[in-house]
């Protein structure tokens, strides 16, 4: 009796859910129709390009990040030095050798092998549809997403955001879906640097302009990427390391806590400072490298163990993250009464800013999340306007200490 009842209920639920879902499906297609209609409207007016350029200029001038900096500022470029040998030879060098990291640090690709990119329509960005595929849920990502949407709205583009939650295969799935939807451009923050090549190859092959943001892809992936925008992680970490070396007086022991192993920030934020310190201050020893992840208690445990193990030899700690990792590390130092240990981190988050103000965190590098999104939108818009765009451009950076932290408050995330 009960079983029949349940069977009927199950069927009923399925029916109801079908109705709900079809409702969702319909609403989705409605919005798409709107978009198409609006893009037709705008393209029928011949002055869409002029209007777009005006909108873009206005957005560049007006939009501010939450910490009161220009959001869509122009990107900066760096010269790529000559590599000292091919990738395989460099791989054999010592971790602390600066040359080893050449191909990790610079997007040094062979531009002759570039694929044929889709031509810019040169009719203005207004009314265009962009799909953003981020890497995963995090406070940083939320901030980036919101800034991206704000910037898109300001320049007259519409955008959809997909979040694969740090999963490689899910991101692949999203890329397939994005191609299937045939948007005007796709912006991707790749989960994995190595795999980016294949992902962008797919997009470019489908004739959709592909942009890469934030995470550095492998150099050869640039053959299929129209433009890369993002922070220069290596540069800012090297600056931070120089500052740290100066503060330590050129001697002492440094230990490193890394980002997720294998990601581009893992190399930049561990071996960037390590190689800089080895080059500029040979007396500074690197003691240990650990990857406890982003859990405050795990980091605290690692740092406590270091303090007991190395004692007075431990003078400084370099962290890949200034939120959870910094909380764990500063608390471990405080608990052991070792406030003399200098802690520097890549930043910058709200927790990091608080720690800098209280002096527990000595320095953090400034990496503006919203400017990152702003630069991506700016580059995409410039592409639609038919302007020449830099293939690689970076956002500005700074080192934050207790003296200049006020300039960067309130924090973005």
């Amino acid at each position: 009796m009960f079983k029949k009842y349940l069977a009927v209920m199950l069927a009923g639920t399925m029916l109801v859910s079908t109705l709900c879902l079809t409702g969702c499906g319909n609403s989705g297609s409605d919005s798409k129709d709107d978009k198409k209609a609006s893009s037709e409207d705008s393209s029928s007016g011949g002055d869409n390009l002029a209007e777009s350029k005006e909108l873009l200029q206005k957005a560049i001038d007006d939009i501010q990040t939450t910490d009161n900096h220009q959001m869509m500022a122009e990107g900066t470029t760096f010269d790529v030095p000559e590599a000292e040998g091919d990738a395989e030879a460099l791989e054999k060098l010592d971790d602390s050798d600066m040359n080893k990291w050449h191909y990790y640090e610079y997007l040094d690709w062979d531009s002759e092998a570039d694929s044929r990119f889709p031509e810019s329509p040169a009719d203005g960005q207004k009314g265009k549809h962009v799909i953003l595929i981020v890497h995963g849920a995090h406070a940083w990502t939320t901030c980036y997403q919101e800034a991206f949407e704000e910037a898109c709205e300001a320049v007259g583009m519409t955008c959809d955001v997909y979040d694969p939650n740090w999963d490689q295969s899910t991101q692949d799935g999203y890329i397939d879906q994005a191609i299937n939807e045939q948007p005007d451009a796709i912006v991707v923050i790749p989960v994995s640097a190595d795999h980016a090549g294949q992902q962008f190859k797919k997009i470019t092959k489908a004739g959709i302009p592909a942009f890469c943001s934030n995470t550095l892809p492998e150099a050869d992936a640039m053959n299929n990427i129209l433009a890369y925008t993002g922070p220069n992680d290596w540069y800012q970490m090297r600056n931070l390391a120089s500052k740290l070396g100066e503060e330590l007086g050129g001697k002492g022991g440094v230990a490193y806590i890394t980002h997720n192993v294998g990601t581009s920030p893992y190399y930049a934020r561990t071996f960037g400072p390590m190689s800089t310190l080895a080059e500029e201050y040979p007396d500074i020893k690197s003691l240990d490298v650990q990857s406890p992840g982003f859990e405050a208690s795990a980091v605290k445990q690692v740092v406590s163990d270091w303090i007991t193990k190395y004692g007075k030899d431990l003078n400084a700690i370099v962290l890949a993250d200034d939120s959870d990792q910094a909380i764990g590390a500063t608390e471990a130092c405080k608990a052991a009464g070792r406030e003399d240990i200098l802690i520097v981190a890549a930043g910058m988050s709200k927790q990091g800013a608080e720690l800098i103000q209280s002096g527990e965190l000595k320095y953090a590098s400034y990496q503006s999340c919203q400017a990152d999104a702003g630069l991506a939108v700016r580059t995409v818009s410039e592409y639609f306007n038919g302007e020449d765009i830099e293939r690689v451009s970076y956002i500005g950076t700074d080192i934050i200490g207790a003296d200049n932290v006020e300039e960067y408050l309130p924090c973005q995330w």
Binding site: A137, A139, Q290, P292, S297, T308, A335, A336
Partner: protein, 349 residues
């Protein structure tokens, strides 16, 4: 037990029961003293590895802190394992939901927020207990599926975002103070070295010990864990007892989750990841029998300590984060085997 058993009086020669009846000494020792032998052994290894600095105040403190959260959650999980339901796979999301609800309601003041956090944990326990106690759902499959459902609900409601207590708090002094109090609970030290978290953990363990060994509820649970059918037919209200056990577990997990959120300063759906495994390891290390009906809170406390000390020693040896997984897995398998083996030798499984 060397009496000759002769069930058939008609035979002329009495049959001698030659089956081995004496209990293996090693198994008995392991069963009784169990984990504390391991703890002492680990401490000795620790002293050797750390060249004597193992008892340094900072190290003791770091061990206590590392095990505080696991201890809190384990003090509830023991009731589940004890009642014969193996483990609760919904611990990660119970912790996450506890933390998130507490952070979300921080505007009503600190005590209310904590209370709501704990209540949400109790609610999850209630649902689990009802499905498993009343309808006899498969405890692993149900809690696992429920964990996924909770994760879905939490992700949709909060859109996969992280919650910060000081951002959620309104801009009034009252709410900001509540947020600050919330952060400080994971950072308060009584005396110089003993943290509040460790004390809460020990208090919870004592309460769990009292419930487990001094109340009627504990006795009923033992019977249910040993044999559900027998318990049912001897007039025990199994549903009520199991629901209570799951509520206790939910409350303990959510308290752990609240402290975790306070320690991390953020609450999100991924807060409790991995605690299902580590807490089960601690409970099993403490000599709790997987099939239920055997185990003690004192043993569990030992198990929690052993787990913390083992991790500490592994980092003394210089194992990286990843090699630890391998060692933890092997230790887990070894302990489970020893647990099963010794109980089989004792004839209790």
């Amino acid at each position: 037990m060397s009496e000759q058993i002769n069930k058939n009086p008609n035979t002329n020669t009495p049959k001698v029961d030659t089956r081995k009846t004496e209990i293996n000494k090693f198994s008995l020792i392991f069963n009784k003293l169990g984990i504390y032998v391991v703890v002492v052994a680990l401490i000795i290894i620790g002293l050797i590895v750390s060249k004597g600095t193992f008892f340094a105040a900072s190290n003791i403190q770091s061990i206590l802190e590392a095990v505080a959260l696991i201890g809190m959650v384990s003090s509830g999980l023991i009731f589940i394992t004890y009642s014969g339901n193996m483990t609760d796979m919904s611990i990660p999301l119970t912790m996450a939901v506890g933390g998130m609800m507490a952070v979300q309601t921080i505007n009503f003041g600190f005590p209310v927020a904590i209370l709501i956090g704990i209540l949400s944990g109790a609610l999850i326990g209630l649902v689990n207990g009802f499905m498993i106690g009343k309808f006899r759902a498969n405890p692993i499959i149900w809690t696992w599926g429920f964990n996924l459902l909770l994760s879905g609900i939490v992700r949709v409601i909060w859109e996969g975002k992280q919650l910060y207590a000081d951002k959620v708090a309104k801009d009034t002094e009252f709410a900001q103070n509540a947020a600050n109090t919330f952060f400080s609970i994971a950072r308060t030290y009584i005396g110089k070295y003993i943290s509040l978290m460790a004390i809460v953990m020990i208090v919870m363990m004592v309460i769990a010990w009292f419930i487990h060994s001094k109340t009627k509820f504990g006795q009923k649970l033992k019977l249910i864990g040993t044999n559900y059918e027998v318990a049912k037919f001897s007039g025990i209200n199994c549903t009520k007892t199991l629901v209570t056990a799951y509520i206790i577990n939910g409350v303990c997990a959510s308290i752990g989750g609240i402290f975790f959120a306070a320690l991390r300063k953020t609450a999100s759906y991924e807060n409790g990841t991995g605690y299902d495994f580590s807490c089960l390891t601690a409970v099993l290390l403490g000599g709790c029998l997987l099939n239920g009906g055997k185990g003690s809170v004192v043993g569990t406390f030992g198990g929690v300590l052993a787990y913390g000390i083992l991790n500490n020693i592994l980092s003394w040896i210089g194992l990286g984060t990843y090699e630890k997984y391998l060692v933890q897995g092997l230790v887990f398998l070894f302990i489970v085997w020893l647990n099963t083996y010794s109980n089989r030798k004792l004839g209790r499984a």
